[in-house]
């Protein structure tokens, strides 16, 4: 039975780095697997969606529907995406027979330090709009396995822990 591994967190939390590590290990054991990244998905779609709450939710719905379609076809999916909306998490749980949810929970202070483009700093000052976690609300996933303050040193270890979860 195919599964969906949904790795989520705010921008800069390291979700994609960790997801790639899990995927590269998993692929050897389960060749029928794909890796789907939220940013890649946007560029594949090449459409008009922006970054306000409405468009972010629309994008999240598309990703969630595609993931459940793939798992229903017997393809395992490792998906790293922000998509921090309760209705999306509920949908995933309902439409994927095996669903694993991982939340990379990093303190905002740490995210600001990590964010080299100054995304969060600009948003806090009001110089940038539509930044999730600052001027856009988000829902922490309720049933997720939580990894707190995932840093570079812990990425390998955390990826291994997640791999053990889905193995």
């Amino acid at each position: 039975m195919a599964f969906l591994l949904w790795i989520t967190g705010l921008a800069g939390s390291g979700k994609t780095t960790i997801a790639k590590k899990v995927y590269s290990k998993m692929k050897k054991k389960h060749p029928a697997s794909v890796f789907l990244d939220g940013d890649d998905f946007r560029s594949i779609m090449q459409d008009e969606l922006g970054f306000d709450l409405k468009d972010r939710k629309k994008n999240a719905w598309r990703i969630a529907r595609l993931c459940s379609f793939l798992t229903s076809q017997g393809v395992n999916v490792v998906c790293s995406t922000m998509s921090l909306y309760r209705e999306i998490h509920t949908y995933n749980r309902k439409h994927n027979k095996k669903y694993y949810e991982v939340f990379i929970d990093v303190d905002m202070q740490e995210l600001i330090k990590r964010n080299k483009k100054g995304l969060y700093s600009l948003a806090i000052k009001g110089e940038m709009k539509n930044v999730t976690g600052i001027d856009l609300p988000f829902d922490k996933p309720q049933g997720a396995v939580v990894f707190k303050n995932n840093n570079l040193k812990e990425v390998k270890l955390n990826a291994e822990k997640i791999y053990q979860l889905i193995k």
Binding site: Q109, G126, E127, I134, D139
Partner: protein, 382 residues
């Protein structure tokens, strides 16, 4: 073996909420009531088991009439109450809470009148809280939202005490399972009135005439309805709009006002403010039913643009509070890597410290001269 006393917390927002009425009643009833974690700091035990107030806490005489009426206290050994305006920071006591609240339209206005009556009400509220860096209305709202996460908490209202002090005190004593002596109960009620508090404050000021801040003002219910100034009325409306849910929760009148400002009901995103990493609940716990947590903290940048040395002298804040505010702003601007504003605050801070040093030198010099003069007088008139 002596049994450990059962303990309670008395929590109220920093804004004048009438909790001193209750503290005075508790002390009248022989309930050891103290601020700060250590009861033995405020109440110094005598050899015979009685307690006297630590002279360092003499300022409390301004608030609590009983401290002027009595010198020696004999407390019950089975109950203690700690009172505080602190937020529920991590590791903070999980004791049952007596939560004492007052309509924010009155309590915030009362704080303004007490602290900074020389500036406008709106400007006063725009000064961020020194500790949390929140706008003062948000500060009140969030203080309540955070404390109300606690399960073992019961709310009591200032307005109920004003309406029926006997009944309110009875309900509180029932909650803390304390059976009072009927005579002492009557004495507690009679000795804790607003008039007694005002008398006590006047007595205190006769001895400490440099302290000009009036704390026992009107102490009335729904004072906000009598405010005539148009600008102040607008601010009252803003308080109501921002705290509407809480007003309803606490059973206060709401007028169903509609916001004219686009973002008036949006709470700031507190997860960025360093202070909130110390709180025992995450912002997500608090805001899970509030779809309003999404404002930026741009007001801090705006505020920083407006302040200067002259402002610091005129804002009505106490020097130590200004110090805390500037320190927290420094931490904040360092965190968001805003060097320009960081440098501005650093410069202001150094100027503020210089003034403080000068003040302290002048004060010490005055004290020295005063003591020398006293000695000379003593020698002349032994």
């Amino acid at each position: 073996m002596t049994k450990k006393p059962r303990k309670y917390l008395l929590i109220s927002p920093r804004e004048p909420s009438g909790a001193t009425w209750l503290i005075n009643c508790f002390l009248e009833l022989g309930i050891k009531t103290y601020r700060r974690q250590d009861p033995d700091w405020m109440w110094q035990k005598q050899e015979d088991g009685s307690c006297v107030l630590n002279p360092e806490e003499n300022i409390l005489r301004k608030w609590l009439p009983i401290l002027s009426a009595e010198k020696v206290f004999l407390f019950k050994d089975d109950i203690e109450v700690q009172w505080t305006h602190e937020w529920p920071v991590k590791g903070y006591s999980s004791l049952p809470v007596i939560y004492f609240i007052r309509d924010p339209r009155d309590s915030i206005y009362s704080r303004y009148k007490r602290e900074s009556p020389k500036i406008s009400f709106a400007d006063f509220l725009d000064i961020p809280d020194a500790a949390t860096l929140l706008h003062k209305i948000d500060n009140w709202v969030l203080f309540n939202l955070y404390w109300l996460q606690r399960k073992n908490l019961k709310v009591f209202r200032f307005e109920d005490y004003k309406n029926d002090a006997n009944n309110t005190l009875n309900s509180i004593l029932e909650y803390i399972k304390f059976v009072p002596d009927p005579d002492k109960f009557k004495k507690a009620i009679d000795g804790s009135t607003s008039d007694k508090a005002r008398e006590s404050e006047n007595e205190y000021r006769k001895i400490n005439n440099s302290d000009s801040q009036v704390i026992n003002r009107a102490g009335a219910v729904s004072e906000w309805k009598k405010i005539l100034d148009r600008e102040d009325k607008k601010v009252i409306d803003k308080i109501e709009i921002k705290s509407e849910k809480l007003l309803t929760y606490f059973g206060y009148e709401v007028r169903g006002l509609v916001s004219v400002e686009k973002d008036i009901v949006i709470y700031p995103n507190v997860s960025i403010l360093p202070f909130f990493s110390q709180i025992e609940f995450s912002p997500e716990d608090v805001f899970q039913n509030e779809n309003k947590r999404s404002s930026t903290l741009s007001y801090l940048s705006v505020f920083t643009k407006t302040i200067n040395k002259k402002w610091l002298n005129e804002c009505g804040m106490l020097p130590f509070e200004i110090d805390i505010l500037l320190n927290n702003l420094l931490v904040f601007f360092q965190l968001i890597q805003d060097k320009k504003k960081y440098d501005k605050i650093l410069l202001l801070k150094s100027k503020h410290n210089q003034t403080e040093d000068k003040n302290s030198i002048t004060l010490n010099l005055k004290r020295y001269v005063h003591s020398v003069v006293k000695k000379i007088i003593k020698k002349i008139n032994p």
